[in-house]
């Protein structure tokens, strides 16, 4: 009966209850506005990003299906995941501050007997207003961002009038997406609160944090080892500039900062009394809030490092990458075989002196797995397919494109155990290994078409480990297949002769000797595969050049199916590649790379600023109490401001110093991994310098502004 009465009462429209909700929101408008800004940013960036993707991907050859392994969508998904992570961290941080202020009010209402449904109504109304406002503003901001970036992209890429269009459903989908992030962040925050009391702990005025724990010296040593290992490994080409190494570096930095600071401060407190007491107030926070201070310090370092290096270097390396035309010395590259004699003869007779055709002997070289994968298991790996050539052919190719032949002595052996690699990619692409599965530093290579059914447990007969005597990054024949395939493997001339005949002795499906295949399976499949690397250049300056290119392309396209030796095993590996579409792809990919990384840089800078502001806001109550206390003790305003200024500046100075040191180490590593020539490396370093200076200046101005605002809020300007 009572329950029915309650339900009837709840259904009544109570205008005063709405007034209470609205007035509470208005009272906490600063936190509400901050939350709206965070959500608005997510909507705006996701909206403008997806519109940019749609207009750019229309011109990219690989964008038939979304989430294709090559192309723009991969970069957008990758960026999207990073954005998602940043968005969740940001919303959780702001929510902690927002709810930190609201929780005392909710608790009071709970004590006064607010029902669960009214509590939910209150929370949903507030959340709903924030969400609607953020989405509404985000629509216009996102539109503005998109227009700016479209102008930038079309100027750079030159696709004005040829760009694709975007769907009208984009915004509704983004609304759902942002609602999902909002909900997910709220759920995660509830979990964190249940486990770590992250909100309610902000209500406590005193928090006890130990300066030193056990094994501080040991942790410091571990931190140093982690950082050193991470930096050294980052410079190795086969580690693919792994984000896990960066994670290891960050973890090491945290250990170094926490343990190092603890040891130094303990030493000062115990052994240098005079120094300790002279700076008692200035360093007080470092002593009693050391864990929190270090966490924030490392967090700001990580955010600035991501801006300046992880995303910033991508922009810089893309901006300083080779001109696209230099990556494609030929108009067509064909992975041909003996049956293509007639076709090539036909081409020569048809176009005579208008085209120049070069033929080089080659073998197909397969790697076990061409893609970095997180999961292992029954899923079949797509093997990489590379171009195997002899040492002589390598030198001829170099000479043909007038490139300086640095590798005079390659130290290759007659058994084929030693190889030289040419990674055909441009400078904007991360350095990467050729073989992802078995041996990153020592690739396991198979001579012949991919042996799709080979026995993984018995790879020594099929995918033989090779030692890399040297490698280079650059284009000899053309950067096709987005650096995962059609790279060049150089063997010694002697071994190459043997390799050319390997197909006769090897079963193509199992990768084992033909006799073994016959005895195990009753039959053997023999496929010769490609034997010739054919490079076609159409003379420039002739009439109807474009039409000629089109006709040749159509002619070669007709032969595609005949060159699928093992069915459509990998659609990205083809019989022929044309440079025109590859150039268009690279141009749009570079534009996307700059666009996405710029977005991410802006997003992370904003996240950094918001977290900094929120951190100051959460500590304000404590600062005000301390301010009153110190004023009553007779400390001058100038001294009190100095104490606060030093505390705030710690969050600028220490992350900056660590970041600069880390930048030097990692820049050196990445320039080595990507084998940048000296002149280009200098340009990159200069551009990075400008970027770092800009970011640090912006951050400094912001920190100064925040200091001014919060010192005023804490009453430090008031001497009464």
């Amino acid at each position: 009966m009572q329950r029915i009465k309650d339900l009837r009462a709840e259904k009544k429209q109570n205008n005063l209850f709405q007034t209470v909700i609205w007035k509470n929101m208005l009272y906490n408008r600063k936190e509400t506005i901050l939350l709206i800004i965070c959500e608005m940013l997510i909507v705006a960036i996701a909206y403008s990003g997806s519109m940019c993707y749609q207009i750019l991907s229309a011109k990219h050859s690989s964008e038939v299906l979304f989430l294709q392994e090559d192309g723009i969508s991969r970069q957008f998904v990758y960026a999207g995941m990073l954005l998602l992570f940043c968005a969740i961290v940001l919303i959780i941080t702001v929510m902690v501050s927002y709810l930190g202020k609201r929780i005392p009010q909710y608790m009071l209402l709970k004590r006064m007997g607010i029902s669960m449904s009214d509590t939910r109504k209150m929370i949903w109304t507030e959340a709903g207003i924030c969400y609607v406002a953020a989405t509404f503003i985000g629509f216009f901001v996102g539109k503005g961002m998109f227009l700016i970036f479209r102008k930038f992209i079309t100027d750079m890429v030159g696709i004005e009038g040829k760009a694709g269009s975007y769907s009208k459903l984009t915004f509704p989908v983004i609304c759902l997406f942002s609602f999902g992030i909002y909900g997910l962040s709220f759920l995660l925050m509830k979990e964190l609160e249940a486990d770590f009391r992250i909100i309610t702990s902000t209500q406590e005025s005193v928090r006890k944090e130990k300066l030193t724990g056990k094994f501080t010296g040991g942790k410091l040593v571990i931190g140093i080892c982690c950082c050193s290992y991470a930096v050294v490994q980052y410079g190795k080409i086969y580690n693919h500039e792994s984000v896990y190494l960066l994670g290891l570096f960050f973890a090491g930095t945290y250990l170094i900062l926490r343990s190092g600071m603890a040891l130094i401060l303990s030493y000062i407190r115990n052994k240098q009394e005079r120094n300790y007491y002279r700076h008692l107030l200035q360093r007080n926070k470092l002593y009693y809030r050391s864990k929190t201070v270090v966490r924030y310090g490392v967090l700001f370092f990580i955010l600035n490092f991501l801006v300046c290096f992880y995303f910033g270097f991508q922009v810089v390396s893309t901006a300083t990458a080779e001109p696209v035309s230099s990556l494609y010395p030929y108009d067509f590259m064909c992975i041909a075989d003996d049956k293509d004699e007639k076709l090539l003869k036909n081409l020569k007779e048809t176009y005579k002196s208008d085209i120049h055709i070069e033929e080089y002997p080659m073998v197909r070289v397969a790697t076990a797995d061409k893609i970095e994968r997180g999961e292992r298991g029954a899923e079949q790996r797509i093997q990489g397919q590379e171009i195997g050539i002899s040492e002589t052919t390598y030198h001829r190719l170099k000479k043909a494109i007038h490139k300086e032949d640095k590798a005079q002595k390659m130290d290759l052996d007659a058994e084929g155990k030693k190889v030289y690699l040419v990674h055909q990619q441009d400078r904007s692409v991360k350095a990467q290994p050729m073989d992802w599965f078995y041996g990153k530093s020592r690739p396991n290579l198979h001579i012949g078409v991919p042996a799709a059914e080979y026995d993984w447990g018995n790879k020594k007969n099929t995918y033989i480990e090779r030692v890399v005597t040297g490698e280079e990054i650059g284009s000899l024949t053309g950067c096709y297949s987005t650096e995962k395939s059609e790279n060049i493997v150089v063997f010694s001339d002697k071994y190459f002769e043997k390799a050319e005949k390997e197909w006769k002795k090897t079963d193509a499906i199992w990768g084992i000797p033909v006799e073994d295949a016959k005895s195990y399976y009753g039959e053997a499949t023999i496929i010769q595969g490609p034997t010739k690397l054919v490079l076609i250049a159409v003379k420039s300056g002739i009439n109807n050049r474009n039409k000629m290119l089109e006709r040749i392309d159509q002619l070669l396209e007709k032969k595609e199916e005949a060159h699928q030796y093992i069915g459509n095993y990998d659609s990205t590996v083809r019989f022929h590649y044309d440079s025109e579409s590859a150039k268009a792809d690279i141009i749009s990919e570079r534009a996307v790379k700059i666009l996405i990384n710029s977005y991410l840089m802006i997003m992370v800078i904003i996240v950094d600023m918001i977290i900094f502001y929120t951190m100051c806001q959460m500590e304000l109550k404590e600062i005000i109490l301390r301010e009153r206390f110190l004023k009553n003790l007779g400390m001058s305003g100038k001294e009190r401001r100095k104490v606060y200024r030093k505390e705030i500046c710690f969050y600028y100075v220490s992350p900056t110093c660590i970041m600069l040191a880390a930048m030097v180490l990692f820049l050196r590593a990445v320039l080595r991994a990507r084998m940048f020539p000296e002149t280009i490396a200098e340009t990159c370093i200069r551009m990075e310098g400008v970027l770092i200076a800009g970011v640090l200046l912006l951050r400094m101005l912001y920190v100064v502004a925040v200091y001014q605002v919060f010192s005023r809020k804490a009453g430090m300007r008031d001497e009464r």
Partner: protein
């Protein structure tokens, strides 16, 4: 009726666990056996850290005992959860705190009406009742103001009006005069006396001030978590 037992405890205890390395347990209240009847005016006195505020919180159903029993109007407190508990807090109890705990975002008028708003009473009824109480406690000219504009005594009278607006059976007061000067203390304690004598409400008040405790008809002394005297 004065003979009806409003609150009863049986060997009620409360322990807290401090989360340091050794997980130290502190027993704040030990085996409290107590009966509080309707229309009683009780003061709970004791030194700082004796457990008086903890006792008040347990009796006010804000906290739960770690052992023993607590009955409110004959109902075991363990059975009082969720919306049922919320209703009791809204309709049967009123709270007055040392720090007033008024919502700064709401005016005095809205703060007084708040329990009725949460109880989904009609807007007109809310306003009428709030005005009536404000007149009784002589704060009718403050209705349009906000808490930060009031003095301590005015805030506390506002808080008392809020505690009374839903006609609760019992008022819990935690050091209601702790932040007030002597003049305001006198005014507030006169108000409590009026609530007790004329409105026949049960009042359970925590105080460390004997002069304030003397307004009540029964004083409980707590020391080290135990009731040492009941007079």
């Amino acid at each position: 009726m004065k003979d009806n037992v409003l609150l009863r405890t049986e060997n009620m205890s409360r322990k807290y666990v401090i989360s340091d390395r050794r997980e130290t347990e502190i027993e704040v209240l030990k085996d409290i056996n107590l009966e509080i009847r309707e229309q009683e005016f009780i003061s709970i006195m004791g030194k700082s850290g004796s457990g008086k505020t903890t006792l008040l919180k347990l009796l006010g159903l804000i906290d739960r005992p770690t052992s023993g029993k607590l009955y409110f109007k004959g109902v075991d407190s363990e059975e009082l959860r969720g919306d049922r508990l919320a209703r009791i807090r809204r309709q049967d109890m009123g709270f007055v705190y040392q720090d007033y705990y008024l919502l700064d975002s709401l005016s005095v008028f809205e703060n007084i009406m708040l329990p009725m708003i949460l109880d989904h009473k009609d807007d007109k009824v809310c306003k009428e009742e709030a005005e009536k109480l404000a007149v009784s406690f002589q704060i009718q000219n403050l209705l349009g103001k906000y808490p930060y504009e009031l003095s301590g005594g005015e805030k506390q009278r506002t808080a008392i009006c809020r505690a009374l607006v839903n006609q609760p059976d019992v008022i819990f007061a935690d050091e209601p005069t702790g932040n007030l000067d002597s003049r305001s203390t006198e005014i507030v304690m006169d108000v409590f006396s009026t609530i007790h004598s004329k409105m026949h409400k049960t009042i359970i008040m925590v105080t460390h001030d004997i002069s304030v405790a003397e307004y009540s008809e029964r004083i409980l002394y707590i020391e080290d978590g135990k009731i040492t005297e009941d007079r």
